[in-house]
């Protein structure tokens, strides 16, 4: 077991080269099969056969998928001395494990970053492949073979219309389940409803309502706005956008004119898109679950998770896509979480993995309600942070500025988002920002003179010029946003500076490309 992006492929290639054996490499996806084939050609100088994907080349070094291995292993199980199982956690599946039984290879190598399986069948790995010989945890690989990374949580809310529908659907579902429980005490929401829904039209409607609720969260309109903001935050970085559903991937694709990969994309399209992404023709890529595992793109360092499964494996693997080390650039994973929905629970589960625990985690709790959706305003947050946010740094409360530049840029992001609010001002902790700026320069513990004891907050109007404090210029708001680079357009720009369906004055700070208006800066020290 080795964490993602720490050279598992190279271990396998070295094993082949050192022992000079015939090898079969089993991968979970067709794309990975061709990726392995390329690596073998590059690094071993040998041509690998492809078994599967309508090709049947049984050569001394062959790459295949778990499905094809299962089909063909009865015929070729005695031809290979070494079998390499890439992403070996796929092997103990219901049928895939038979391919390991049908092969007599004395040398077996299983490579995975996430050996755990929710169904507990990962114990079979020891029987099918062998005992764990090497285990490395993510914190140990940090900065050595793997990029440094930060996870940033962006809490958003549903818009009013969406929230209304969400609440309505929730009420309907709750009422139905409560009624059924009264009739039958053992009524199980998950299993019984699916069974009943075949015959009972009401239950079918409830099931549809449940799926509609999920779709509301997965395709929340605010998520697209967050994507836009993050794409602008990183104008010169390649970006991968992970979505929960195909539909959302297509939404993102249509909104920003970037290619989308879904489970329906055929092989040629997928290869063309991935090649062009690797060569830098495409700036960003939206993908449903196609790119979750094994895909190699060291240049991509920014990831946006718009939604995903409840399990932790997917989260770790997605993070792993960004952690391929290249030129010491740090990786950033933005997690967009819709508050007050099941999204929060899903995000909380992801926190359980050590990949997340060991990361610098920032939570944008200070995004004012209304920047990204209005949410359900009837509920009030208690004095204590909700469980989902414990352990996360708040960008302006944190004492350690490990990635202070993010704090600055995100705070700036918040300020830039302000024209969307009707509110006139936001509090920005200037001293903290100062510290953050110093943190970027490596002076972590610097504090401006006279401010050691307390913090000074400055009130800056949205669209204001940089605030002058203690003789230093602190960027807070009103900077022109960096233009989107080529290969990426947004609906905002297409609409001539106005957000569709929203009252926004063109050029009033925020998202237009015009410089900000020369509004009288109003600063006040409190």
């Amino acid at each position: 077991m080795k964490p993602t992006g720490t050279g598992k492929t190279e271990i396998a290639l070295t094993a082949i080269a050192r022992h000079r054996v015939s090898a079969l490499i089993v991968t979970p996806l067709r794309d990975l099969m061709y990726q392995w084939q390329r690596r073998i050609r590059l690094e071993l100088g040998a041509e690998a056969g492809v078994l599967g994907d309508a090709r049947r080349e049984v050569w001394p070094i062959t790459v295949t998928t778990y499905e094809s291995a299962w089909i063909h292993m009865k015929d070729i199980g005695n031809r290979y001395r070494l079998i390499v199982y890439d992403e070996a956690h796929h092997l103990p599946g219901a049928t895939h494990h038979e391919s390991a039984l049908d092969s007599l290879a004395p040398m077996r190598l299983g490579l995975t970053a996430t050996p755990e399986r929710a169904d507990g069948r990962d114990r079979m790995l020891i029987e099918l492949i062998g005992p764990f010989v090497f285990e490395e945890r993510l914190p140990q690989a940090r900065g050595r073979t793997r990029a440094h990374y930060t996870i940033i949580r962006v809490p958003i809310y549903l818009t009013e219309g969406e929230q209304e529908e969400f609440d309505r659907l929730s009420r309907a579902i709750r009422a139905y389940v409560a009624r059924r429980r009264r009739e039958d005490g053992t009524f199980n929401w998950k299993e019984d409803l699916a069974k009943v829904s075949r015959s009972d039209p009401e239950a079918k409607g409830i099931l549809q309502a449940y799926h509609r609720k999920l779709a509301l969260v997965h395709r929340s309109a605010e998520k697209l706005r967050v994507v836009e903001d993050i794409l602008r935050l990183h104008p010169d970085e390649q970006c991968v956008i992970f979505t929960a559903s195909n539909r959302m991937a297509l939404d993102v694709s249509a909104g920003f004119l970037i290619p989308a990969l879904t489970s329906y994309s055929d092989k040629r399209e997928r290869n063309a898109v991935l090649d062009r992404f690797a060569h830098g023709t495409y700036r960003a890529l939206a993908a449903c679950q196609v790119l979750n595992e094994g895909w190699d793109a060291p240049a991509a360092k920014v990831g946006i998770v718009l939604g995903g499964e409840r399990g932790t494996r997917e989260a770790v693997q997605r993070l792993g896509r960004l952690l391929r080390r290249s030129e010491d650039r740090p990786a950033r994973l933005y997690e967009v979480v819709v508050e007050e929905t099941p999204d929060v629970a899903r995000a909380r589960r992801r926190n359980w993995t050590d990949a997340y625990q060991s990361a610098t985690r920032l939570s944008l709790d200070r995004v004012p309600r209304g920047v990204y959706g209005r949410g359900n305003r009837r509920r009030r947050a208690g004095p204590r942070a909700p469980r989902s946010r414990r352990g996360w740094h708040r960008p302006d409360m944190s004492r350690s500025w490990a990635s202070a530049d993010i704090c600055i840029r995100l705070t700036t992001l918040v300020c830039r988002s302000l024209p969307r609010l009707n509110k006139a001002f936001v509090y920005v902790r200037v001293s903290t920002l100062e510290q953050a700026r110093q943190g970027c320069l490596g002076m972590r513990h610097w504090r401006p003179a006279g401010q050691a004891a307390g913090r000074i907050g400055a009130r800056a109007y949205a669209g204001a010029r940089p605030v002058e404090t203690a003789g230093r210029t602190v960027p807070t708001a009103g900077h022109p946003r960096p233009a989107l680079p080529r290969g990426c357009t947004s609906t905002c720009d297409a609409a001539g500076g106005t957000q569709v369906g929203e009252h926004r004055v063109p050029g009033a700070g925020g998202y237009s490309r015009d410089p900000p208006p020369a509004a009288a800066p109003h600063t006040e020290t409190c």
Partner: protein, 102 residues
């Protein structure tokens, strides 16, 4: 079978399993099961390596016709594995990070 002396047992790979042509009731490792259809002992191919270790213990003389491994093709020397290939940068044409910092 007939070409072999009686005490040498033949081991074959058949459709994903190992077939050992030994008489029924003989002393074979317990992961073998008797298959009436072919009148031979069978086990999963996975157990091949285990069998080579157990053969001495059970005093079996086996002619191994199961393993039919490919020969390894010519490879570059192993140390070449660690020569990094140059990866494309994004955006194309931009200066490498090292040059920008210096």
């Amino acid at each position: 079978m007939s070409a072999l002396p009686d005490r040498i047992l033949r081991l074959r790979f058949e459709r994903g399993s190992l077939r050992l042509d030994a008489p029924p009731g003989g002393d074979v490792p317990q992961y073998f099961t008797w298959d009436d259809r072919v009148a031979a002992w069978r086990t999963e191919a996975l157990n091949h390596f285990r069998l080579t270790e157990d053969a001495k213990k059970y005093q079996l003389t086996i002619r191994d016709d199961a393993a039919d491994f490919f020969d390894c093709p010519g490879l570059r020397p192993a140390h070449r594995c660690f020569v990094r290939t140059k990866r494309p940068r994004w955006p194309p044409g931009s200066a490498p990070a090292g040059a920008a910092s210096s």
